[in-house]
Homo-oligomer: 229 residues x 2
């Protein structure tokens, strides 16, 4: 018996796990949403540990920000593309036609599902080794304490530091069906009076977008003010 091909840095004993991980809910058969749930938790844990061990003096806030940057959808989609995951995806005809195999959210979700598939196939240590292999170059690029705070945090801190009221975020609209929603958000400042709109694939993403717009207008510098590590 041949050992079979490796996929994503792992040789699957049970290929059906890999198959399920690469099946979008739009396709026939068992899809990857349950695996994505488990894979997301595994990914968060493995990256948390990597940062914990690599940055022995970083505080919780610095590690939280670094992890958010490493596991965000755009980063995962980039990794998935570097592994040509899109070409291996099973999608329904509608998603095929609309280019679903190139969409960030579908790629990121499938990569998380692959993580769970490896875990179920070979256990925690094997899964961690594979995931660390993917992320190590990205972790190595991060400089402790230099991970930028997100736009909402920076906007809030800038306002608080000046004794000004907090920004008010309002969900204006959410369009599209459950799996392809676009959120439209407004952010209002009372002092200085200003308002900006943002949109994104989650309410949070839309809020970040609006906050970033206001930060740019307020000319808030991007460098973090203190390094934790």
């Amino acid at each position: 018996m041949s050992e079979g091909p490796t996929a994503f840095g792992h040789r699957f004993a049970d290929r059906s796990l890999l198959e399920q991980a690469l099946t979008h809910r739009s396709a026939a058969g068992r899809h990857n949403e349950r695996l994505e749930f488990l894979g997301d938790a595994l990914l968060n844990m493995i990256v948390a540990e990597a940062l914990f061990l690599r940055w022995p003096k970083a505080d919780e806030g610095a590690m939280t920000r670094a992890r958010a940057q490493l596991v965000r959808e755009a980063t995962l989609a980039g990794l998935a593309r570097s592994m040509d995951l899109g070409a291996k995806l099973a999608l329904g005809p509608g998603e095929m036609k609309s280019g679903g195999h190139r969409r960030d959210s579908i790629l990121a979700d499938a990569l998380e599902a692959v993580i769970a598939a490896i875990y179920l196939d070979a256990g925690f240590d094997a899964c961690r080794a594979v995931v660390l292999g993917w992320f190590e170059p990205l972790v190595a690029e991060l400089v402790v304490g230099k991970v930028e705070k997100d736009a909402k945090t920076r906007l809030q801190e800038w306002l608080q530091g000046r004794g000004k009221p907090l920004p008010v975020y309002t969900l204006v609209e959410a369009r599209g069906d459950e799996h392809d929603k676009v959120f439209f958000v407004r952010c209002d400042l009372a002092d200085p009076v200003d308002t900006a709109s943002g949109q994104g694939s989650s309410r949070r993403a839309a809020e970040q977008c609006a906050a970033a717009e206001l930060l740019a207008r307020l000319d808030v510098p991007r460098a973090p003010r203190r390094g934790p590590g």
Copy 2:
């Protein structure tokens, strides 16, 4: 050499890890915030896997809601109390005086830190076994598909199901210092016109509180409309 006492269901080879896990940031010495970061990720992963294995047909949404209920601060604080964790905590004099060893947030954070300490002391399998021991009775009590959706989700679904505008949440005020903040939130409905206030130790908790108030006024039934498993 004696094997030493077990604490929290685990016999620590390196007692300094346990000591750090039980040291609040207000006390002298190495405190538990970094461990809490890692422990939170471990807890989320271990509970995710437990739900994934126990509920083979539950969808991602049902598992996400069940996990949120299991790992929320009040649940963790309850577990911590059942282990008499508060009495073992090292706190600074200010926190001692103000009853910090009874506070939900401090107890929950310390319990998460203990999870990380066990992981670092003895590895993933040992950590998982201990954590599952704590949570199994709670997991067993949950009925698949019967985990209630949170108030914000139910309010949103109720409004969407009737073609009405989404609720608008506004942060009115955040009082107190970083580690003991209280958030005040307002939730406005356009149709029917109504408004409610909520407060909580996080913005999200305050929003849930306001949404729950509106749900009660709208007389929305509490039973979930569909079971996933």
